[in-house]
Amino acid sequence: MRRLPLCLLILTALAGCGMGKNAPPPLPPVGAASVALSKAACDRGGGQWAGTAGKGMLCFRTPADAGKSCDRGNQCSAGCLAKSHTCAPITPLLGCQQLLDDYGQTVTQCVS
């Protein structure tokens, strides 16, 4: 009489495993798998997966508004260059740059 409930319990547990109802969420990829995913996402988005001197890899993209005339930062998707008054040709923009802010004032942005 006591065997039946135990069998049912085991079957229920196995069915649960099969359905995946109580499975923990998959762990996020780490190491090389994570890098490969980032690179694939970069490639899909039309970016260039490129190395930066001594700092690993980054996804660089050419903004759609690259090179267009601008007077304020909010006229560009990735910054308005202060001297040329043109939208930044690449994002992220590494190093220190003179940019125009949303009020048209020159500011220095440094990205390392």
């Binding site: 490129a50 040329s84 008054h85």
Partner: protein, 347 residues
């Protein structure tokens, strides 16, 4: 004015490019600015210059002067966003620049920063290497060219270093695209391969001499440009003025390039006058302007070509820009082919 893609750069440029090597020497600043205004009014958005300009001759005290003149125009006009700006790093061996020292990655970065200061801008759209460090067959060196002293491993190492330096400039937003000049098909193919292997900037253009009179690019370079989507930027498309006919019979007009450089950089040769006369005869037979015919022929080549138009005067520039959109009929193209066979490579 037709607009074209510059290689795979994402840049859109006019079918003619404004050359500037007279700015600061044969052409004063006011006339230079008037030429830029006129070119833009005609639909040109592509301006080419170089660290070492002006030329005829290159002098230590005027190196960078042309960039300064263009920079003054950019600063005062506020029209930087309307132009695609190309300049060049002077190559190894030009005594007037860095005393001819070999160029390397550090040289490239420092020279680009200096060009940016003179141009009064924060981005160079197309940064070109003026000539290869290993040597070149251009500028009449084809008649005695020998690659025997070239070292392949050293060339690969040098190109990789230069590409890595360019990559840094691209990532800092200081350069948008990379081009070559006075290069060969082998050299360009190697630059392309190294860029692909190491995910470094890809060559988008090669600026070599090309005209009815100088057709070194007709074979291997043409094949490369077509298959690799590299634009040939044709300098001296009028043969340094020879194809205008102004030097016919040994004439030397005041203020002309020939007045400053009598042999036109080795282009004055025993066969060149007859070749020019034959091309002019084709133009006459078909009621065409010879200057515009020569330029339209360049644009009609079966690989991507953009001619670079340099002029001493505004009138010369206006005249040449009349070639924009001009299509030569098949019978003219056939006669130009026949003339080429009769007068091959006159210099």
């Amino acid at each position: 004015m037709k607009m074209l893609s510059l290689g795979q750069s994402g840049l859109t440029v006019s079918e003619y490019c404004l050359g500037t090597m007279t700015f600061g020497n044969q052409t004063g600043p006011a006339d230079a600015h008037a030429q830029i205004d006129a070119a833009l009014a005609a639909g040109v958005n592509f301006i080419d210059t170089a660290e070492m300009y002006p030329t005829q001759p290159v002098r230590a005290e005027t190196v960078g002067r042309t960039e300064e003149i263009i920079g003054d125009w950019l600063a005062t006009s506020g029209r930087r966003g309307e132009v695609v700006l190309a300049t060049k790093l002077t190559g190894t061996g030009q005594k007037m620049v860095r005393d001819g020292a070999p160029v390397n990655g550090a040289t490239l970065v420092a020279a680009a920063e200096a060009s940016l200061r003179r141009l009064k801008t924060d981005v160079i759209d197309l940064y070109q290497i003026h000539w290869p460090s290993r040597g070149s067959y251009h500028f009449r060196q084809n008649w005695g060219f020998s690659p025997a002293r070239q070292d392949r491993a050293a060339t690969v190492a040098h190109m990789t270093e230069m590409l890595e330096a360019l990559q840094g400039l691209v990532q800092a937003g200081k350069v948008r695209a990379f081009g070559l000049s006075n290069e060969s098909a082998w050299g360009t193919a190697l630059w392309l391969r190294l860029a692909e292997e190491h995910a470094l900037p890809r060559v988008v253009s090669v600026q070599n001499e090309y005209s009815l009179l100088c057709r070194l690019a007709d074979t291997d370079m043409a094949e490369l440009c077509h298959n690799e989507d590299v634009t040939l930027l044709a300098f001296s498309p009028l043969g340094a003025g020879l194809l205008t006919g102004k030097y016919a019979g040994g004439a030397v007009p005041d203020g002309s390039r020939k007045a400053a450089t009598p042999d036109l950089g080795g282009r004055v040769s025993p066969r060149v006058d007859a070749a020019v006369a034959a091309y002019h005869a084709v133009a006459r037979r078909h009621g065409l302007d010879p200057v515009r015919m020569a330029l339209a022929w360049t644009r009609a080549r079966p690989f991507p070509v953009i001619p670079i138009l340099g002029a001493t005067t505004r009138a010369q520039l206006d005249h040449a820009l009349g070639a924009a959109g001009m299509i030569l009929p098949p019978e003219v193209m056939a006669e130009l082919d026949a003339t080429h066979r009769a007068h091959p490579m006159p210099y």
